[in-house]
């Protein structure tokens, strides 16, 4: 296990936009970069919770591919969505994830993250394995799955101790979709988002 913070990776990162082909090391570099940035924000005592959260959200919007994630979660029902429904779903799902997982920011307790390796995955994807060190979550394994589009790597799934976020939501949404269709699912998500907004 080692920290991938070597000079070659930094160079690869700087050169990333230039290389058209999606170099797998770009995926690992992206995760390392994101981890470093997020930890700096979490440790920045000049920021309040809201400030931290908005900065981390901004990074997440850039590094996660919410369109692909939405497609993967909805899976075979995706073609039953109208173009407007697709757009609404992506927006609501993104907001839902931000609301629920954003609440965790306050519970940060000086963890650091080690990037421990990467492996190829189907469809040209890359899995980047990380491990949380120290704090309340020390020892937890978190794996990111990334896919390149136009040479830009973005995260399309996160696995915590082997549990895929995409597959978990897919399972939850499946029965709602089969009973209530696309609009039913979108309504459920928007209702929950409205509830969150009402009780901060």
């Amino acid at each position: 296990m080692r920290i991938l913070r070597s000079a070659p990776l930094l160079l690869a990162l700087l050169a990333a936009p230039a290389s058209g082909a999606s170099d797998p090391s770009g995926a690992t570099a992206l995760i390392q970069k994101t981890v470093d940035e997020v930890i700096v924000i979490l440790n920045d005592s000049a920021l309040d919770t809201a400030g931290r959260r908005s900065r981390i959200e901004k990074i997440a919007w850039e590094r996660f591919d919410f369109v692909t994630m939405s497609q993967l979660v909805v899976a075979r029902y995706w073609r039953e969505f109208s173009p407007e429904q697709k757009e609404t779903f992506i927006r609501e799902f993104k907001a839902f994830l931000a609301r629920t997982y954003g609440e965790r920011i306050d519970r940060y307790s000086e963890e650091t993250v080690l990037v421990v390796g990467q492996a190829p995955a189907p469809r040209g994807d890359v899995k980047v394995m990380t491990e949380i060190v120290g704090g309340n979550y020390g020892g937890a394994e978190v794996e990111y799955r990334l896919r390149a589009e136009d040479g830009i790597w973005r995260v399309i799934d996160v696995k915590v101790e082997g549990i895929s976020l995409v597959l978990n939501y897919r399972d939850q949404f499946r029965s709602i979709l089969s009973r209530n269709g696309p609009q039913g699912l979108i309504d459920r998500l928007s209702d929950r988002n409205a509830e969150f907004a009402a009780s901060p």
Partner: protein, 285 residues
């Protein structure tokens, strides 16, 4: 391969189930009608295929499903009620009184007491290296670590790998069988439920203590672990649209992943040349 003793999120919750010191889960999403989800494919199958592509999903799932879903949902609701009105309030008090480091020490001590189960199952899975690590951990942590309250072994790189008989069965190719929600113990399946019984036997061999004491200890262990995951459990519950399905899916994926890790562990060594395990699974790394 996971040093799971300090897992996060789901994991804390799920580890409880494996310990047989179950979390009382219940559904926040009970407002919705618990219509049996016949279309639900077992997440075990999904996890195994590592299939994310939404077009190729058609070929996925030779649905194992959740044939006992109506019953499971009832028990889940019962567990949730128990959690909300009894376990959660007590664990809140526990959390308030005991600082985190004390809770961690208590958890370490209970982890240490699981030595016979971890060790036996390492052997059952032919993982002699991990069995050795497990034995060294027990000797070191029971002495230098003061009855297991501290974990100097991990500092030396001897990490715990939680094992149980359900994993052993999975390692030897036994499928999970139907998903089962056990009262008090939480999520399980036919295979792991059977494993729980065997593990209880393994533990009893090591520790001749009265049953009542053993129940008391199991209760303290459960309560302590529940208080360690209070926040995470709450977050995951809020992050779900159907909490029952979310827990079911997480449990299945989590167990499949542990068993895959066990198979990978064997691949690293060559104790028994020619023994082929894990024919259908591509290498993880």
């Amino acid at each position: 391969m996971g040093s799971m003793s300090r897992a996060s999120g789901w994991l804390f919750a799920l580890a409880l189930a494996c310990l047989g010191a179950g979390p009382m889960w219940a559904t926040a999403a009970r407002a919705e009608d618990p219509v049996p989800d016949t279309a639900a494919a077992s997440s075990d199958a999904a996890a195994h295929h590592d299939e994310l592509d939404f077009e190729e999903e058609y070929e996925e799932d030779v649905a194992q499903g959740d044939p006992l879903e109506p019953m499971n949902r009832q028990i889940f609701r019962l567990n949730e009620g128990l959690d909300r009105y009894a376990i959660e309030p007590v664990s809140k008090a526990w959390d308030y009184v005991l600082p985190d480091f004390v809770q961690h020490a208590i958890r370490n001590a209970f982890d240490n007491l699981r030595f016979p189960i971890d060790f036996a199952n390492d052997v059952f899975q032919l993982d002699m290296t991990q069995a050795g690590v497990c034995l060294a951990r027990f000797l070191l942590n029971s002495t230098v670590g003061i009855a297991g309250l501290m974990d100097p072994a991990s500092t030396l790189g001897l990490h715990r790998k939680p094992e149980d008989f359900g994993q052993t069965l999975g390692f030897w190719g036994v499928p999970p069988g139907p998903y089962l929600m056990l009262p008090f113990f939480g999520p399980s399946n036919l295979r792991d439920g059977f494993g729980l019984i065997v593990d209880t036997g393994l533990r009893a061999i090591g520790f001749f203590i009265p049953l009542a004491v053993s129940f008391g200890l199991a209760g303290a262990d459960a309560l302590n672990r529940r208080s360690l995951i209070r926040d995470q459990l709450d977050t995951e519950r809020r992050a779900s649209l159907d909490w029952y399905v979310s827990v079911r899916n997480a449990y299945s994926q989590y167990r499949a992943n542990l068993i895959d890790d066990d198979k990978d562990a064997l691949k690293d060594y060559d104790y028994f040349p020619g023994l082929e395990i894990d024919a259908d699974r591509p290498a993880q790394d």
